[in-house]
């Protein structure tokens, strides 16, 4: 892309820098500060949710109950899921969006900066409330991150009310964040930045933001119905009162299925930025990438009931959801083929961000294969709610969403801090994570196929060996994340100066700025040719 950067450090800037002290972070409306806050928050939540995962894996290392009681085990699985989805992956993507979207489209800041501050600061309160339920009488939520009624209504611990309010707050935050991103992309693009010149990360986030606006109210609706059932005597999900427990699942998954795409579409964007950089070649099939992403987003609204193949739908429903789900493999395949074609006849180097991006392509594709298997309804009866499903969605979400976030952080970190990261540490982090992830989640395919249900605190003896292996892998993966923390902190504090372009093959507006990116950018819009 040919870009001309207008000088932005001129006298229009009046030297407005960040405020001093804590006030900078509390009251900031600067997209870079807010992006940073989101990213730190997400890292903290990632480590918290990770500790819960390690507690789960430690309990499952051997058959028998060793460390925790079943009720606490259920609280751990529930909180691990909720924290990773709403606290780690989503805020990390929003953080990257806040940091990068204005820079990538040549905007001075986000379109609605004050709302931006508000949408971040809701999150720490929401998660403090949610985590505090663990210390309440009766314990925290213990009904899985999907919180199926009536287990989560009639049979739930009293703390479920606080959980519902926490979910409402997360929803507010997400919707406000999404509105802000859409407004920024549609209104603040630099002259010449047509829609079909948008960087793919921006495109995928635009589509994701629409998904968020469409489905977060559905989540808010379903938890409000729960609240009514619990406290106001309604019977939405209570069969004894004429309600329908399956209604909960339909409404939940109408939110939940697009939600899992919310957690992967921005990942597609990040990887589509990184692979061309390190292959030193333009992304293959830019237009088909945009169309594929849009098709995936549209299809995501039509397939929710594939999470419910065993609830007893009529045959026609089962067939419809099976066919629609299988269809998603087509645009997803196009994306994978395009990435591979981008590498084909490139001139590749393998810096840390590229390693994570390549691992993303391979492991996400494996997750896609198991997803295709799960789409086949008759076979799904044997896979549903087993560890095969756990393996599938962890392949999609850990080496998928989370590896892409790590790739993005390593890729843009020099631009944020002005320092190159420690490549040797970065590579060590990559290899330990890569090996750890596979040792953890690959055996889960086997125990699942052999018949181990998910969400059980103890298991029959034939599942013992693979579970022991998976637990060892989880600890390797978990502890290797300390390298990431160390690397980020040392990159902020110093290191080799980064050039403006940072990476040899980098492209796009963000690389025309100085490193570190100035506090205020593009007070005069750059012109994109």
């Amino acid at each position: 892309m040919d870009t001309t950067l207008s000088p932005n450090m001129d006298d229009t800037d009046h030297g407005h820098g960040p405020a001093k002290g804590m006030g900078r972070w509390l009251f900031t409306t600067n997209h870079k500060d807010i992006g940073t806050l989101y990213l730190w928050f997400s890292l903290l939540m990632f480590l918290t949710g990770g500790c819960m995962a390690l507690m789960i894996r430690a309990e499952l290392f051997q058959p028998g109950l060793q460390l925790v009681q079943p009720d606490f085990f259920n609280q751990m699985t529930t909180m691990h899921g909720l924290i990773m989805v709403f606290g780690a992956v989503m805020p990390a993507f929003v953080g990257l969006a806040n940091w990068m979207i204005p820079i990538m489209v040549g905007a001075p800041d986000m379109a609605l900066p004050r709302m931006n501050n508000w949408s971040f600061w809701i999150l720490p309160f929401a998660f403090s409330l949610m985590l505090s339920t663990l210390f309440m009488e009766g314990g925290g939520p213990n009904f899985g991150w999907t919180f199926y009624a009536p287990l989560s209504t009639t049979y739930a611990p009293p703390s479920v009310t606080f959980f519902i309010f926490a979910v409402h707050m997360m929803g507010f935050s997400s919707i406000m964040g999404a509105i802000n991103i859409i407004a920024t992309i549609l209104n603040l693009r630099a002259p010449g930045m047509t829609m079909m010149k948008l960087p793919l990360f921006v495109w995928t986030w635009l589509i994701t933001a629409f998904l968020l606006i469409a489905v977060m109210p559905v989540l808010a609706g379903v938890v409000t119905m729960m609240l009514m059932d619990i406290h106001f005597g309604t019977s939405f999900f209570n069969a004894a009162g004429g309600g329908d427990p399956v209604l909960f699942q339909h409404v939940f998954w109408f939110f939940g299925h697009p939600e899992v795409y919310i957690m992967i579409l921005p990942a597609f964007g990040i990887v589509s930025e990184i692979i061309p950089t390190f292959a030193r070649k333009k992304l293959f099939g830019y237009a088909s990438m945009v169309y594929a992403t849009s098709s995936i987003a549209l299809l995501s609204f039509l397939v929710w009931a594939h999470h419910m193949f065993t609830v007893g739908m009529p045959l026609a429903g089962e067939l419809f959801f099976m066919y629609a789900t299988m269809l998603i493999a087509v645009p997803t395949g196009v994306k994978v083929f395009n990435w591979v074609a981008t590498m084909f006849h490139g001139s590749m180097t393998f810096e840390t961000p590229m390693l994570f991006a390549l691992a993303f392509v391979v492991l996400f594709t494996i997750g896609g294969f198991s997803g295709l298997m799960l789409a086949i309804a008759p076979a799904d009866f044997q896979y549903h709610d087993t560890y095969f499903v756990v393996a599938h969605f962890h392949y999609v979400l850990v080496p998928g969403a989370i590896f892409s976030i790590m790739a993005g952080v390593y890729y843009w970190l020099p631009k944020w801090t002005g320092h190159m990261l420690n490549e040797r540490l970065g590579k060590a982090h990559f290899w330990l994570s890569f090996i750890g992830v596979n040792i953890t989640f690959f055996p889960m395919h086997f125990v699942g196929l052999a018949g181990m249900p998910r969400r059980i605190p103890d298991y029959a003896l034939q599942f013992a060996d693979f579970n022991a292996v998976a637990s060892v892998g989880a600890f390797i993966f978990g502890f290797s994340q300390l390298l990431l923390v160390y690397n980020i902190i040392s990159c902020i504090r110093g290191g080799e100066r980064a050039t403006d372009q940072v990476w040899e093959g980098s492209h796009g507006l963000e690389w025309t700025l100085p490193s570190p990116a100035p506090y205020h950018t593009f007070s005069k819009p750059p012109v994109v040719k």
Binding site: F61, M348, M373, G451
Partner: protein, 370 residues
Amino acid sequence: MIKRVWHLPWIGWLVSQPAIAAWEVNITQGATAIAREVYDLHMIIFWICVAIGVVVFGVMFWSIIHHRKSRGAQARNFHENTAVEILWTLIPFVILIAMAIPATATLIKMYDSTESDIDIQVTGYQWKWRYQYLGQDIDFFSSMSTPREQINNEAPKGEHYLLEVDNPVVLPVGKKVRFLFTANDVIHSWWVPDLSVKKDAIPGFINESWAIPEEVGTYRGQCTELCGRDHGFMPIVVEVKTQAEFDQWLADTRSAAEAQAASATEEWTLEQLMERGEEVYNTGCAACHQANGLGIPGAFPALAGSPMVTTDMDAHIDIVLNGKAGTAMQAFAAQLSAVDLAAVITYERNAWGNDTGDSVSPQRITELQQ
């Protein structure tokens, strides 16, 4: 086959390897025609995925090895090709159609639950299954029989650890059995891999599924929908017997039920009731209220010293028989016999230092149930 005591878990794991016969990695081929068909379908999709994987990862690793800068590779300039892009949209589409055809055929067969020989209603409870053979006058509960000592690592684990029950569901070989699923409290899911039956049991709804077991044998499964604290301890055992053995089982089960009913009219001493009551309590009540009667604060009330079990006997009997709406306390009137109910109530009123000396007769329960 799988008998290990781990002193040093990790080392134990390494040295025990040669002794382990099974690192099971695949789904079962099953004991019904449908299960075999599902297995074949699963293998077809699996190999298609493997083939696609080999092609995609092959090209990718070829590029990683040969088109790297350190080998002097120069990036070429191409970045789109409409023909190629259309082609790799259409080919996967065709592959998907090829997968969808056998999947549809199998699914249609699985949905045909007509013309059954036997109908069994399966009801999920927290955390046990109830089996009613419709029109056969057979009705019983099935709970996990693995002792808590094995789960808490206080006793060596048996061969069928967590996959064994007190009353298995019994089926005749070669007959079409239709299952009707429902639940009493939360959603459960009844899964026996060898029959390839997994169906949610949902309160207020009836789901159906069926199987024709082709071989005599014992098949094991578990509840697969998170249903609360003891979700992991809700196994299913299916025993497939020959027709003659099945008929014998039907007769035996009926006469056992009659004997049970007859015992309700007998006189029971406090000691007899206490002994029986402890057994019933440990199977049916201890999961929530704990074996020591102390409950779990905030979740399940304590029974030791509770006014409910030390003073008001009518309220105590009522809550055991009819449960408490809106809580996890189930109605046990239909689940337990009059003798068991009388015994467990008597036990609760005298155990853990409650020592009321009260004794409830089975006759009194029978009267209340009528």
